[in-house]
Symmetry: C2
Subunit: 220 residues, 2 copies
């Protein structure tokens, strides 16, 4: 981050709460006029885009505390959909920009958040540019395991709020490859499938190793 993340979120005070009680709701779509910025209070959201050929790519999963809805030339560049019940804070852009003109600290706060998003995007470039399928999957699992909302540290149960297609479209692989990578981890006793969306992590240190190991490109 550019500066210390700093004091308590100014966002909550100046925004409108919005809630969606189900998964799969489209908050906004690629190409729409961008009127609002959103901050997540609770739940999770997927940010995605379709390529010209129709291929779907998930750019990021947004978690509590994250901000999304940045305009690109006045419109949204991506689509945002809920992947669980979600509580959001919503704020009109014109309103925010007005406030930022009077409050440089608020604007700096936004700048830091966008810069952080950029750094996350760069880590994704690293992943897609050189990690193997196993590494990518390990990264995703650990990412979700970092959020108590989805991971129970005590019994190791990880609840993935997404389908295999989501996993695949996030990791840049086919859904069959995603399934096989999970099978491989299961064979290696790193995890155990409870049901398709629930995974018990048996060896989290082993997962962290799997994320790092591999001297070369393009191996299993």
């Amino acid at each position: 981050m550019l500066l210390s993340p700093g004091e308590r979120d100014p966002w909550q005070e100046i925004s409108t709460p919005v809630a969606y009680d189900h998964s799969g709701f489209e908050i906004f779509a690629e190409g729409e006029d961008a009127h609002f910025v959103y901050a997540i209070d609770e739940g999770a959201v997927r940010i995605l885009r379709y390529a010209d050929n129709g291929q779907r790519q998930i750019l990021a999963f947004m978690m509590p505390g994250d901000l999304f809805g940045l305009p690109d030339n006045g419109t949204y560049a991506n689509t945002a959909e809920t992947i669980s019940a979600v509580r959001l804070y919503r704020l009109p852009w014109h309103n925010l920009i007005q406030r930022m003109m009077d409050d440089p600290q608020l604007q700096l706060n936004l700048l830091v958040r966008v810069a952080d998003d950029l750094h996350r995007a760069q880590r994704r470039i690293m992943m897609l540019g050189q990690q193997s399928t196993s590494q990518r999957l390990a990264t995703l699992l650990l990412e979700f395991a970092g959020h108590p909302e989805f991971y129970n540290d005590r019994d190791g149960h990880l609840h993935l709020p997404i389908t295999r297609v989501d996993v695949a479209d996030y990791l840049g692989i086919a859904r069959e490859t995603a399934a096989r990578a999970i099978t491989r981890f299961e064979r290696e006793r790193l995890l155990r499938r409870i049901d398709p969306k629930t995974i018990q992590i048996l060896d989290i240190a082993g997962l962290r190793d799997a994320e790092l190991v591999r001297p070369k490109r393009g191996n299993q």
Copy 2:
């Protein structure tokens, strides 16, 4: 961009000019304390990072008008190196932040630039997540061809200021694969090799097609 890109660059007035006359110079390195932000006046720069296993990934090529050197928790997250003779504007961060506190417009200008960087990073995620080798190469060639500094529209000569390893590390492929992709384009009469770093583009419309075509993932 968040708002209209707006008026003339305020950067040049408040910054120090710096020049490097050769390629391969390290402007700053990953992990160093981040003291300066840079804007490119002339020339080009590569932004790169090494993964834990030593694999090199080029995150972006920066061109005239671009800004780089954003700190991540006070240090640079990436390395920046010249890939041609370069003229830069350099500005200490503490200085810039001070100014931004007094000048919300300046800060908004920076915000828009960082947001633009984020959008570029997202396009790279799309590329690495789903484009084929040919598509990636076409994208890179068209990217450089968009800059008169490297592309002569009249005779179609494109001067790539980078090696094949750079091409490969940018596209997320092996250098042999990069060479073969160029060979393929040459066979298809889309381009012609003059020398390793000079390519004559014979069919730029065909290149743009090559960038888009392909209904599926992972084909040649």
